[in-house]
Symmetry: C2
Subunit: 355 residues, 2 copies
């Protein structure tokens, strides 16, 4: 509260009997400092609580940083459009510090395109990379490449912990499944059938979806629940077989609840429910896509678990930028809250931008 006046480099220089330039050199160990000078400066630094003025630093160094953001084409999926929005918002807050974000989009339905883009990112020689590494196999080799070029990377949405990114932003998928189970268990008191629906093109993705399923199942197992749980894997191409399987499932009067593990799957399942006019089946889905919100308002979807892609990406840029400009240590992992969206709190989430 009291002592205004921060310690500056000049102060240190004076105390150590050297010049500001020398202090700067030891602060950033740029070398070219005699052992004595180094010793004297370090001594002062230990005695004193010096906090560099980051404002002056960015102005003085006049350095700019470029962050490459590698995500699926936002035009292909509203989920990724939200990530894009988060990136934009973060970028706006960091331009002051001369950090700029260069987006790189790959084709959500073409894994090879990720390789092409990952290569392009490397060629662009950014100072840092934010990536949603959704195609494990294709993208894996690139992280060695990035590391050998000394380009730090942070993950969001999907983790690949083996390659230890600077940071990962996402959610606890197992726990997410448990929340889904809890919500169904809350609103359905009787026994009956429950179904876990994985509606997704991509089998590889299923490693993550299985994590949700595991949480979902274990919740009921722990409760010794009488619910019978089954799983359906469905491509989202709404072919004849898809229709048949869905209709078969949903027409069973004994079906009490549906846990849909993907965001697009949520409204696909909901539209079936609506068509068949089944409104006593509890449907728990994912994410605040416009279509999902509509079904939530109408009551076809009962709960959405919000993965908050916007905030994930927003934080991703933030951590990367903090690392770059402030050399601030980033959390190796940031697992966001498992937000439960209902009909009544929906609007409060829509109204508040990033939260």
């Amino acid at each position: 509260m009291l002592n205004r006046k921060n310690i500056t480099i000049k102060d240190i220089a004076r105390l150590a009997g050297v010049s500001a330039g020398t202090v700067d050199r030891v602060l950033h160990n740029r070398g070219r400092v005699s052992t004595e000078a180094l010793g004297r400066v370090n001594k002062i630094l230990e005695e004193i609580d010096y906090k560099p003025n980051v404002i002056a630093r960015t102005l003085g160094s006049n350095k700019t940083y470029r962050i490459a953001a590698l995500i699926p084409n936002p035009e292909q999926d509203p989920y990724w459009a939200q990530s894009r929005a988060g990136i934009r918002q973060a970028e706006a807050e960091w331009t002051h510090y001369n950090v700029h974000v260069e987006p790189f989009f790959f084709d959500l339905y073409n894994k090879e395109s990720l390789k092409v883009v990952a290569e392009a990112v490397h060629d662009a020689k950014p100072d840092g990379i934010l990536i949603a590494p959704i195609f494990y196999h294709e993208v894996l080799p690139f992280f060695e490449l990035y590391r050998s070029s000394n380009i730090p990377f942070v993950f969001f949405n999907t983790n690949i912990s083996e390659v230890s990114p600077l940071s990962f932003i996402g959610q606890n998928l197992y726990q997410s499944g448990r929340v889904g189970a809890e919500l169904i268990n809350l609103s359905q008191h009787n026994e009956g059938r429950l179904a876990v629906l994985h509606i997704d093109e991509d089998i590889q993705n299923s490693v993550h979806l299985l994590e949700k399923e595991k949480g979902f199942r274990e919740y009921f197992e722990e409760k010794n629940s009488a619910f019978k749980i089954e799983t359906l894997n469905l491509g989202s191409k709404e072919g004849a077989s898809f229709e048949t399987q869905m209709s078969n499932l949903l027409s069973d009067p004994n079906l009490k609840g549906l846990f849909v593990s993907t965001s697009r799957g949520s409204f696909i399942a909901a539209s079936f429910l609506k068509k068949l006019n089944k409104n006593n089946i509890t449907l728990v889905g994912y994410d605040m896509l416009e279509e999902n919100l509509q079904h939530l308002r109408e009551g076809t979807i009962n709960f959405l678990i919000n993965q908050n892609p916007k905030r994930q990406a927003f934080l991703g840029i933030n951590y990367m930028a903090d690392h770059l400009v402030f050399k601030k240590p980033t959390p190796t992992q940031d697992l966001l809250p498992l937000e439960v969206i209902t009909r009544e709190n929906l609007q409060s989430y829509v109204n508040s931008g990033i939260h």
Copy 2:
């Protein structure tokens, strides 16, 4: 993506044929500029997209800002301790820009103390004020005073819209009540009694609590629900009458749900429920106090609606600082999401600091 190189004051000066000093004067309309000069500079400014470099600005002006934060003594209530934490966190992020926060605590159980502190705040002549104006009557006169001294103020937690603060951060209380109703309605399918409990010293506060109650009741009215809803106003001094009323209420086997409108009331009600060993009554309460979390884990409390006091205060400082240092327009109102905390998503909220 392309044009690096921002436009600087020097550029404008050159284009307008004046000096940087003159440009600076028109930019901040400090006067002492001839009409011609002013015209020429403004012309350039219109033609060009000049964005002042805020980094250079703060460094150059070497100005410091002081924000006074007026909240109840955090030691008296964990709810306010969370606000305090939010203020601290925001302050840490703004010290770069030379904004400092001076906390002023008043006695939560002594309204007069707010007047004393509000006066002290005025004497301190801060550049801005963040306040939780919970004692309407006592604090009202001060806003004219602050305004006459040209000190901007933002509210959080409680709004007094008549005095139009720079910004208000809080939640939609009516909707909050509806969420409470929804949660009970979801888990209780049969008819029976429901009770709204206002457990609070302060009758004045009830104007806010009534807003929640209104939402709660209207939800069921719209549904033509068979639930019978009653209200109990209880001081939190746990006297004999308090005990009696609670016991009477809770011992009714027909009681299905409890909506407790205050954060401390939540665990007080929960402990009664626990003592009486009633575990088929749905209890919806407020806020992530440690005691509440414990009851949520044990299952005595079924849902908490999170008012997120930490984030409220955090944003309050942010808006004030944005206003002060960046002259950034602040939202007149920021209503935070109505977060639903359950046993299964609780930990994910605890783990993620501010979200």
